[in-house]
């Protein structure tokens, strides 16, 4: 077995025991990247040299007996909407194709402090808008399980990087399912923490009230270790919550006593593939066999989730993306008549279709005379969705269900059907609207060999419980140990 197929915990103990050095470890992942990246296309930028020098620094410090961070020497990839000082941060957009931020995002600072090795920036749907990474203006990412299929999105590059073992860990962002859905498509663990658990400072905003940074890993324990580094208060983000961060990686192995698992019957109604439904039913049976109580819960307002999401997310996006006007940074059209024309031409050239579609939707929803019936009404329904969850979590610890209605779809299959594409997020969106944490863990394969994800949701700031519940399932199954061969 090559180094790059080990779990994060195995890598950590190998480094500590001196079985291999951080440089050797990093080099073996860089080798994997040079072998497989051409087929996968997970990265927009690979920082091989700086990764090796970070690894060498870790080795030197370990040699001299220094106390090292919890992710010392572990390679991590970052979604390319997370600002890295001195390294391009493009959001997979023509608009920011050559944008180099002068500062690090909060989580980049934390990863550096934890001595992680930052190997590169991964592909995404432009400005994180999409569910297949096909909206990237700068590259195509393929699903390592079937190169004709998408990795999901918008964090498709980060999910594919871990699935193809190009990095053991990666970081994504989740606005409506953008971590959990590609994790499900790529057969890896992906987690969206509670809104406010991880600082958004330096995450290029798509929809500010929904965006949340989270981890990808090959297993639950890896995700726990990475979340432990990402999470925590940051006074530069007013929405970041000041609560202590539990040691997730320590508690994750402890099974939960008397676990109550909620099941939403509507999740198995229309639109779901039978192969997905049967895998999830089987997963629920695993919990029953572990002594968990299975409880039916109702989330009556979740059916409005997609509509509410597209109003709120697009409204905020229309405002967040207004700054890309060609005046201060980013793409500026080379020919224009006057100032207004400069704005129009720069934005017309810099943004792709999906981004434009959402900006127009958002501008419309916020317009005078319309905001009451769209934006403000959506905020009210959002509150009802949260109330449903609050009521449900009085009776259950976690809610289990499918992450996505289908396994990964083919590249190009849905590009002309945005509405169908939006429905890929039907099970994940509610967690963003409610601000609660969610995780997707590998829970099976379709007959065609495509991964299927189990989604678990928990009450706000119950990440610890969520990880422990996920690990209980993972321990009983071997889906996460499968590695795509290509």
């Amino acid at each position: 077995m090559s180094i790059s197929e080990l779990t994060t915990a195995e890598l950590q103990s190998g480094l500590q025991a001196g079985t291999f050095s951080a440089v050797e470890l990093t080099q073996s992942y860089l080798d994997a990247i040079s072998r497989r990246e051409e087929s996968v296309g997970a990265f927009l930028t690979v920082c091989g040299e700086s990764a090796l020098s970070q690894a060498a620094a870790v080795d030197a410090r370990r040699q001299s007996g220094e106390q090292l961070g919890t992710l010392a020497g572990i390679p991590v990839a970052l979604k390319d909407n997370i600002c890295t000082a001195g390294t391009k941060t493009t959001c997979a957009s023509r608009m920011l194709e050559n944008f180099v931020p002068p500062y690090d995002a909060h989580i980049v600072t934390r990863l550096k402090a934890a001595d992680a090795v930052l190997v590169g920036k991964t592909n995404l749907d432009e400005y994180a808008m999409g569910s297949s990474t096909e909206n990237s203006a700068l590259g195509k990412t393929r699903n390592p399980w079937d190169l004709q299929r998408t990795p999901g999105g918008s964090s498709g590059g980060s999910a594919a990087s871990v699935a193809a073992r190009l990095t053991p860990l990666s970081v994504g962002s989740d606005t409506g399912g953008s971590i959990r859905q590609p994790a499900s498509f790529c057969g890896v663990v992906g987690m969206k923490p509670t809104y406010g658990r991880v600082s958004r400072y330096g995450l290029v905003a798509f929809a500010s009230s929904l965006d949340q940074i989270g981890p990808f890993a090959t297993d639950v324990t890896g995700a726990a270790s990475l979340l432990e580094v990402l999470a925590g208060h940051d006074e530069r983000d007013s929405t970041s919550v000041n609560r202590p961060v539990p040691e997730y990686s320590r508690s994750v192995e402890q099974p939960l006593e008397g676990l109550r698992v909620g099941v939403v019957q509507e999740h198995f109604a229309e639109g779901i593939d039978e192969e997905v439904a049967s895998s999830i039913r089987a997963a629920i049976e695993v919990y029953r066999s572990l002594g968990a109580e299975i409880v039916d819960v109702a989330l009556p307002h979740s059916k409005y989730g997609v509509a509410v999401y597209y109003l709120i997310a697009s409204s905020e996006a229309s405002s967040n993306l207004a700054r890309y006007d060609g005046v201060h940074y980013g793409h500026r059209a080379s020919e224009f008549e006057n100032m207004v024309d400069m704005y129009a031409a720069s934005r017309a050239e810099g943004f792709g279709d999906e981004v434009k579609r959402r900006i127009m939707l958002g501008v419309y929803a916020l317009s005078e005379g319309y905001s009451d019936q769209y934006y403000l009404k959506a905020l009210k329904v959002r509150r009802l969705i949260r109330n449903d969850f609050d009521a449900a979590f009085k009776n259950v610890d976690v809610i289990a269900g499918p992450t996505c209605p289908t396994p990964a779809f083919k590249i190009g299959e849905l590009v002309d059907d945005p509405l169908q594409m939006y429905l890929a997020d039907v099970y994940t969106i509610s967690a963003n609207l409610a601000g609660i944490p969610g995780i997707s863990v590998p829970a099976g394969f379709s007959p065609a060999g495509l991964p299927i994800g189990l989604q678990l949701l928990a009450a706000p700031f119950e990440e610890e419980k969520l990880l422990r519940a996920a690990r209980m399932f993972e321990r009983e199954t071997d889906f996460h140990t499968k590695v795509p061969q290509f």
Partner: protein
């Protein structure tokens, strides 16, 4: 033509905080070094997030309270969205439907009518200032530049009801507002530097055939001097009266126009008309939490408000017996000057005496030395102690002035002097008022004996001859009161 002038003002005030409203950059007027007081937040770089400066909020609440506004216990931030190069995020963080304060008022005294006018305030809200576009004015069509040093300066917007009835009232309102804001130390209100800016909405209510007809509103933008405010409104009013007389239009018949003011040409100029009403697509800023403030916090802020100019002026007249003019002179010099006066007054126990010295001697010295009152070497307790001796009759006014002058020259190197120096100066120079009438009498007798001819002149009624006699006595008796000496000489010669 019978009409009433209707004026409403929108005033923008930059707050005196150390740092900007949503980031840690310095809040300083710095036009010569563009784009140095910036960071990812105020540059609006991707991924940056705002964090509210609580100090700016507290200064705003303080101002709201001084303006007699109600303070909202819950307020929030909204994005006002529009494109302009000096607005790097393409939205301004402002307050839309829930401003932190509303429903206030300011009373102004109008000398020309002798009346008090109450100007009601609709609201005061807090927002971030934009940057500055710098255009090529040479006509060579060079690129415009953008300076973002000012971006994110905390800005208070104060909106009045249309309660102002003349250009003079508008100027007085602004002058009073500036004085109040300076007393509160919330803004330096330098109109030239743009830390106090004003827009005026002007129209007429014409009375015709028992009907009141409002004329179209004209908004005059970016008035940046008190003279400009008065002149621009005056100019606009004349134009509107003439317009009514030649081509009468009611409000609503033509769209609201926006004009600028050219102080050099003394004329307004039409700004590019907005094709349609702007839709700013306000919505709550998801990056910022709503702000709550408790009654205790409001009370605590209220307790930091000093005595404001209007109250002070009234107290000086009614309690200290100052003339309204003197009271005004002292109050208009600012809070520090007025506090100096107050302290002198309390120490010496005589408001009029204190007012005379502070408005004449102290002010003259400040002007000559180009000093602020805070830098003045003779502190209020020291001046108060000198004046106490004058009030108590231990020192003549003349000797008092000499002590004052000596204190000042002693402080030539800029050191502050203590009250202990006073007695030493008086002793050194023999300035203590001579109380021993026997001694004075003896000196007078000696002088008269030496100047028998002059004394004879006085005896014969040539009163101007008494001056030199007084002078000789005073040279020998420094601490004597010249008035007393004169009386004693006359008593001797004519008695």
């Amino acid at each position: 033509m019978d009409y009433t002038t209707i004026i409403g003002l929108e005033v923008h005030v930059q707050l005196l905080t150390k740092s900007k409203i949503f980031c840690g950059c310095a809040n300083l007027f710095n036009p010569d070094n563009p784009n140095v007081q910036t960071c990812p937040v105020c540059l609006g770089l991707p991924g940056s997030l705002p964090v509210m400066n609580r100090k700016a909020f507290q200064l705003s609440v303080k101002t709201g309270l001084a303006l007699n506004c109600d303070i909202a216990s819950f307020t929030k931030w909204d994005r006002k969205q529009y494109y302009y190069p000096d607005l790097p995020k393409a939205y301004q963080i402002s307050q839309f439907d829930l401003p932190f304060s509303a429903d206030g008022w300011v009373d102004i005294e109008v000398p020309s009518t002798g009346e008090t006018r109450r100007v009601r305030l609709i609201r005061a809200h807090l927002e971030e200032d934009a940057g500055k576009n710098i255009h090529d004015e040479s006509g060579r069509g060079a690129d415009s530049r953008v300076d973002l040093n000012r971006t994110g300066t905390p800005l208070l917007e104060i909106v009045t009801q249309p309660d102002i009835r003349s250009a003079e009232e508008a100027r007085i309102f602004l002058e009073d507002l500036r004085l109040m804001l300076r007393y509160l130390a919330v803004s330096d209100c330098e109109m030239q530097e743009g830390s106090l800016r004003c827009d005026a909405n002007v129209n007429l209510h014409v009375e015709e055939n028992g009907e009141t007809i409002p004329t179209p509103i004209v908004e005059i933008k970016n008035l940046n001097s008190f003279r400009g405010v008065e002149a621009a409104i005056e100019h606009e009013l004349k134009k509107q009266v003439k317009a009514w007389q030649t081509d009468p239009r009611r409000m609503g018949e033509v769209p609201k126009t926006t004009v600028g003011w050219d102080a050099n040409r003394n004329a307004t100029f039409e700004q590019r008309g907005k094709e349609e009403a702007a839709d700013y697509r306000y919505f709550p800023d998801p990056d910022l939490c709503p702000v709550t403030i408790t009654q205790e916090e409001v009370d605590e802020i209220r307790s930091t408000i000093c005595e404001l100019p209007g109250v002070r002026r009234t107290r000086y007249v009614s309690e200290l017996g100052l003339t309204p003019y003197d009271a005004g002179v002292i109050v208009d010099q600012g809070a520090e000057f007025a506090s100096y006066f107050d302290e002198v007054c309390v120490t010496c126990g005589d408001g009029k005496q204190a007012a005379n010295w502070v408005t004449q001697d102290v002010q003259r010295e400040l002007n000559e030395r180009k000093l602020e009152i805070g830098e003045f070497p003779v502190s209020a307790p020291v001046l108060g102690a000198v004046l106490k001796k004058v009030v108590d009759g231990e020192l003549t006014i003349k000797s008092g002035r000499e002590v004052f002058a000596t204190l000042l020259s002693d402080a030539g190197d800029g050191t502050r002097i203590s009250a202990e120096r006073i007695d030493a100066i008086i002793a050194d120079k023999g300035l203590g008022k001579e109380q021993d009438t026997g001694k004075i009498d003896a000196v007078i007798q000696a002088v008269l004996d030496r100047n028998a001819a002059v004394a004879e002149d006085v005896r014969n009624g040539r009163m101007q001859a008494v001056g030199p006699l007084i002078g000789q006595v005073m040279r020998e008796l420094k601490g004597a009161d010249a008035k007393d000496v004169r009386q004693m000489i006359l008593d001797k010669l004519q008695g």
